[in-house]
Symmetry: C2
Subunit: 383 residues, 2 copies
């Protein structure tokens, strides 16, 4: 009854320490890169926009912030915030509007100026007061998952480190990545301890960045490209420390639910996924996510890492992932969508994998001031 | 090609100083009131939710906060923030998802705990730094509009005060209103000066509150009610101090754009609107909004007030508006939708107007840390 939405373009800027740019500058630069990348796109083509940020810099809480940065006044702009799934959920909402016929051409922009943390969100407010007061910072939250996975399944410290090794190897080939260096398992293990077993190189950096993608209806998509990418399915779900389902600590129930629904909507199974950009805020997160997404059986995430390389069965995080590229929260999911878009079109440059037809994008986030984990999964298909 | 979305239920709690309730308590109470109000509704019926808050209390930044408060884990929940249009834009996004077929039954909840302003947003961060440093607080911003309207059109101080008089007269009859007292023009003029010409009773109070509405597809709507209300049209737009279009200061271009689009989508004109809930954060805002929505010609807002009473041609703010009911930001737009829903069903009790067929809901907001004004208009129709 409804129609499909297609990704038809993307715009991105280098992720990194961008002290010289204001929040508006980041939004504007990603938008201008999109305008310059999509043949025939003019600002008047954009019917509506969805804008993702958790507003770390305290400069962009409402849709009008994007209007100011881009000149898109008179355009309906919704700001979406959903923890680390902010960008992917902004993409989902824009796609639903295209599917509903409320927009023929929709803009998605995600941005975060993490290094101007005027609100002090990263350091002090990242988890609910109940947990923060008990020492459950982000690295501790994910560190507990790692030790539990090691105890339950015999996952080794080296297998966890291999995720960082792989993603940094990819990141040096990806032009927009923040932390571009190769590292060995030894390097990861010798980097400073953050929260056992996680060392510094197991953790994503603090990074500024922005990214834009353009969605269009089937009728309009061909105006902009011969190779539109279909948004085939999505899932969005939540879970929590405070529910029995999450007490195993060896997986993220929210990801499992989101993936199941995304696969069902897309009419695929995990085996059909040819390339994935997943949420590796910490190395252990990616390892667990292999299992949650069904790429391997429970407990086999540690062994799966070697199959997730650029030339593996199921390449994961060709862009370098959050570990190398960085994690400017509102931008992260949008940049993952942009990378899958490039991969499916065969335009991913030095990190191109072998002729993928189906790509997956995934975020998991811990709600600021909540103990719930939100997860969003989007499936994209080559046309 | 797409389908319509229908409002089929609402839930609300008393607006006021709710120091005894946590933010979660507000969300839970509105949700439970909805569950209790809609025959046959069970939590399992809810396919997805949109949740509006600007998170003044710093307790609910992501969708998982709503899952925690309501138990709606595994439900896709998006948080929307869009300044004072947060609630109405959350409603719009939920409706688009129903229209897209992504949800058959969708929940919208808006909530704000204004009196626990842990982030200090109301006092210090309400306007962009550029303007705040020049004394442009919210009352100053709207006060300038008032003096300009008086100078341009001969609007009188008493006409502006009449808006407060009317809305307080309505609010004493509306069971969920915060500031329930009648006042005269003299009372308004004798209340303490805030920012000339606005006195205390020209300003909405600082209020805690929450409200929920339920949307459904046509197929599902009849399961819940014999009198669903159709979401007939919407408009969302932005404008800014920094654009020429807003320099007249006698109107809000964003409202004009949003209204024009909402009317076009609904296939109506301003003359078709039988009842409206509009954004009266200050008395002058409602007066200007009459003109922006096309209820009267430019410059005639002052004279229109007497036609906006409960028994007037076009009753405006039967619920008492923000001036009497209060303005818990995320909840405000949702509560306006809920009131229009009740009005169109003839269930508005002591504030019921005479058999309305078409209702309008309107917010305008000044983006926090932006000088842009965002406006959202939704049109609802009796079926």
């Amino acid at each position: 009854m409804t129609r499909d939405a297609y990704v038809v373009g993307s715009g991105i800027i280098e992720f990194g320490e961008r002290y010289g740019d204001s929040f508006d500058d980041l939004l504007e630069a990603a938008y201008l890169d999109l305008l310059g990348s999509v043949d025939g796109l003019a600002p008047e083509d954009i019917d509506a926009a969805w804008y993702g940020t958790i507003d770390i810099a305290g400069e962009g809480s409402s849709g009008s912030a994007l209007a100011h940065a881009t000149g898109l006044f008179e355009t309906p702009i919704t700001r979406v915030e959903n923890a680390c799934a902010t960008g992917s959920d902004a993409f989902r909402n824009a796609s639903l509007a295209v599917q509903a016929g409320a927009a023929d051409v929709a803009l998605v922009i995600g941005a975060e100026k993490m290094l101007d943390d005027t609100a002090g969100l990263i350091g002090s407010a990242a988890l609910e007061r109940l947990w923060r007061g008990r020492g459950v910072t982000m690295p501790a939250y994910f560190g507990m998952r790692a030790t539990r996975h090691m105890a339950e399944y015999g996952t080794t410290r080296d297998q966890i480190a291999e995720v960082s090794v792989k993603n940094h190897a990819n990141g040096v080939k990806y032009p927009y990545a923040h932390q571009q260096f190769e590292c060995s398992v030894e390097d990861v293990r010798n980097s400073p301890t953050v929260s056992y077993p996680l060392n510094l190189y197991d953790c994503c950096p603090v990074t500024d960045g922005a990214c834009a993608v353009l969605l269009a209806s089937e009728e309009r998509a061909r105006e902009f490209t011969d190779a539109p990418v279909r948004h085939a399915g999505w899932g969005l779900s939540a879970d929590s420390f405070q529910r029995g389902s999450d007490l195993a600590l060896t997986n993220f129930p929210a990801t499992r639910q989101a993936a199941e629904r995304a696969y069902e909507r897309a009419g695929i199974t995990a085996a059909d996924v040819d390339v994935a950009e997943v949420h590796d805020c910490f190395s252990i997160t990616e390892l667990i996510t292999y299992e949650d997404l069904g790429f391997c059986a429970d407990g086999e995430g540690g062994a799966f890492v070697e199959r997730a390389t650029l030339d593996g069965d199921t390449p994961v995080n060709p862009s370098g992932g959050l570990l190398s590229k960085g994690h400017p929260i509102g931008a992260t999911g949008v940049a993952q969508v942009a990378e899958i878009f490039e991969q499916l079109r065969g335009e991913a440059g030095d990190v191109q994998v072998d002729a993928p037809a189906v790509g997956l994008q995934h975020n998991i986030g811990i709600g600021r001031n909540a103990t719930g984990a939100v997860s969003c999964v989007n499936v994209l298909e080559r046309t």
